[in-house]
Amino acid sequence: MEPKIDVLATLEAKARKTTIEELQQKGRRQLKVIRASEISGMIQESIRKTLEASELLPREQVDELVDRASAEFEELKEARIKEQRQARELATKLAKVQQDLEEAQKELERAHQECEALRQQGGAAAAPAALADGGASAAVMMKMMEELMALKAQVQQGAQGAAPAAGGNAAGLEEQLSKIAGALDEKLDRFGKKMGLSSAVDTATVDFSKLADRALEESAKLESNVDDVEIEKRKGAGIMGNLDKIRKMRGGG
C-alpha cells in the first residue's frame, strides 16, 4: 500500500502555537482562522480534481479512491483523538499519584514526630519498647509502610498501562511513573531499615565461625612465649554509679 498522508497530523506537526498577547505585541489585531478539517477537505478535493483531470483513472475509481481515503482519514483521526484522551487521563492519574505520594510523606513525617514525642514522654525505655513490642508508634509506622506499598503497586500498574497507549506523551508519562515507583522503592527501603524491616528477603545469617576456628587453630600451632609475658594493667574508677543510674532510669531501683 502506498504511504498515506495524515493531513491533520502534518498540520498539527507543522503548526506553531502562539498566544494572543504575543500576536498583539507583533501588531496583529485581527486573525483569519480556518478549521483543519476544511484544509483537509480542500486538499482531498484538489487531489480528486487532479486525478479526474489526468484521466488516468475512470470516474468511479476516483470516487472509490476518495471514499477509501476519507474513511482511512476518519479512522486515523479517531485513533489520534483516543490517544490524546488517554494521554490526558494518564496525566491526571500521574498528578493524583504525585499528590498521594506527598500526602503519604506528610503522614510519615507526622508519624515520625509522634514517635519522637512518645519517646521523649516515655523517657529511656518507652520508645524502643513501643517499637519492639508493636506499640502505638510501631502500628502507625507499619500502617504507613502498608500504604506506601499499596501506592507503589498503584504507580507500577499505571506505568504498565501507559506503555500500550503508545505515542510520545505516553512514553514520557511512563518514564515519570517509573521514576516515582523507583523513588517509592527507595523510601520504602529507608523507612524499613529505620524500623528494622527491609523489603529484601534475607533469612540466612552469615556465619563466620569457621574463619574464627581457623584462626584459633592456626595460632594454637604457633610457638610462642605470649603466655609467659605479663601485660600491663591499669586500675581505674569503677562503674557502679553508671550501673545504678541505668537501673534507676529503667525503673529497676
Binding site: S209, S219, N225, V226, K235, G236
Partner: protein, 356 residues
C-alpha cells in the same frame, strides 16, 4: 559552655591510673567483660572486687624479624611477646611498635580503618593472640563480653558485618557470650552517666572516628568517618617525607597542637584541625537534615575519647574549630574522658554488666 574540664588532662589521666601487673582474672569477681577492639590498641576491662575497674591494654600491631637463636633468646630474656610464624619471629604489641621505630620500619597492623585488615593474611591469628592476652579466659563459661564495633562509615565502603561476625566467632570460641556495641555508644555509657546518658560521644581512634548522639541511653545517630590517628600520621608522613610510624612517634611525643614548635608539629596540628572540623561539619549536616534527631530540651555534653584525643591541646583546638560552626543544638561542655584510652572498654563493660 563549661570549660571546667577543658584543660589538658593527660597528666590527670596518668595520675588517675595506677599501674599494676597481675594476671587477667586475679582480681575479677564480678561477671562481664568489656573489650575495645581498636585499630591502634586493644583494651579489655573487668570489674574488680574492690569496686574498681582493671583495664589491660596492648598495641594492636606486630612486626616480623628474621628468626635466629640469638634474637629468640634475647626476646625471651627481655620478656618481649613473640610467636614463630612461617620461619620468622613475629613480635607483638607495644614492643613491635618500639622495635619498628628503632629499626626505622613500619609495623604490620591487623586492622586498618577500624576494621580487620583484609589484605594481611596473618592478621587474624595475630589479633587473636593479642585479644587472648588482654582479655584472658572467662570467669565462667558463657560470661558476657561486649566488644566494640565501628558504625558504618559515611565516607568509606567498609564491611562492618564481616568484622563483627569474625570477632563474635572468636570470642565465642574463647568461651564468652559475645555481643557487639557501637564504640561511641559505649563511650556514652562510660562517661555521660551524670547527664542521663544523653549527649554526643566521639571516639577518636586510630583508624576512624566514631560518633554517637544518644538520648537517655538510646542511640539516635551513629556513624563513623574513615579518618583517625592513622590518617593524620599518613598525611603528616607524606608532606614531611617520613615513615608513618615516625609520624606516630612525633604525635605521641607530648606535643601541644595549640602551639606547634617545629615543622613536624605544625603538620600534625594542621591535620588535627582538619579532622576535627571534618567530623563536626558532618555531625552538623546530619543534625540539620533533621532525620532521626531527638530534640534536646537542655544543652548537651560532647565527650571525646580514644588515643587520638590524648594529644596536648586537643580540647582547646576542638573548641576553637567548634566555634567556627553554626552548630544546631546548644552544647553545655566539651571535655575529654578522664580515662580516654580506656573509656570505650569501660563502656562495653557497663553494657556487659547490665546485660544490655
Amino acid at each position: 559552655m563549661d570549660q571546667e574540664r577543658t584543660e589538658d588532662q593527660t597528666n590527670d589521666f596518668e595520675a588517675g591510673m595506677e599501674s599494676a601487673s597481675s594476671s587477667a582474672t586475679s582480681t575479677s569477681k564480678l561477671l562481664g567483660r568489656g573489650l575495645d577492639i581498636g585499630t591502634a590498641n586493644i583494651a579489655a576491662a573487668v570489674q574488680t572486687e574492690e569496686g574498681g575497674v582493671e583495664v589491660a591494654v596492648e598495641r594492636n600491631a606486630f612486626l616480623d624479624i628474621k628468626a635466629d637463636v640469638y634474637s629468640k633468646n634475647m626476646l625471651t630474656k627481655l620478656k618481649v611477646p613473640y610467636v614463630v610464624h612461617n620461619g620468622n619471629l613475629v613480635v607483638l604489641g607495644q614492643s613491635a611498635f618500639e622495635l619498628a621505630n628503632i629499626f626505622s620500619r613500619e609495623t604490620r597492623r591487623p586492622m586498618s580503618d577500624g576494621l580487620i585488615s583484609p589484605s594481611d593474611v596473618d592478621a587474624l591469628p595475630m589479633i587473636q593472640l593479642i585479644i587472648e592476652k588482654v582479655l584472658g579466659e572467662p570467669a565462667e563459661r558463657g560470661e558476657n563480653c561486649y566488644f566494640s564495633v565501628p558504625a558504618e562509615s559515611i565516607d568509606a565502603d567498609n564491611n562492618v558485618i564481616y568484622h563483627q561476625g569474625l570477632f563474635e566467632g572468636l570470642l565465642k570460641k574463647m568461651g564468652y557470650t559475645a555481643k557487639p556495641i557501637n564504640e561511641a555508644h559505649a563511650l556514652v555509657f562510660a562517661e555521660l552517666a551524670d547527664q542521663d546518658f544523653t549527649g554526643i560521644g566521639l571516639s577518636f581512634g586510630g583508624g576512624m572516628v566514631n560518633a554517637c548522639v544518644s538520648y537517655k541511653t538510646i542511640p539516635a545517630l551513629q556513624f563513623s568517618v574513615a579518618r583517625g590517628g592513622d590518617w593524620i600520621d599518613k598525611n603528616v608522613a607524606q608532606v614531611l617525607g617520613i615513615k608513618a610510624s615516625k609520624a606516630t612517634s612525633i604525635k605521641e611525643s607530648g606535643i601541644d597542637i595549640r602551639d606547634p614548635k617545629t615543622r613536624e608539629e605544625e603538620a600534625v596540628s594542621i591535620y588535627y584541625r582538619n579532622l576535627i572540623h571534618y567530623l563536626m561539619e558532618n555531625i552538623q549536616v546530619r543534625f540539620q537534615s533533621g532525620q532521626d534527631m531527638p530534640s534536646f530540651p537542655d544543652p548537651i555534653d560532647i565527650v571525646c575519647s580514644g588515643g587520638t584525643s590524648l594529644i596536648g591541646g586537643f580540647i582547646e583546638v576542638f573548641q576553637d574549630e567548634f566555634s567556627k560552626l553554626d552548630f544546631p543544638i546548644p552544647i553545655r561542655r566539651i571535655f575529654r574522658a578522664e580515662e580516654a584510652l580506656n573509656s570505650v572498654a569501660k563502656g562495653c563493660l557497663v553494657a556487659a554488666a547490665i546485660g544490655e
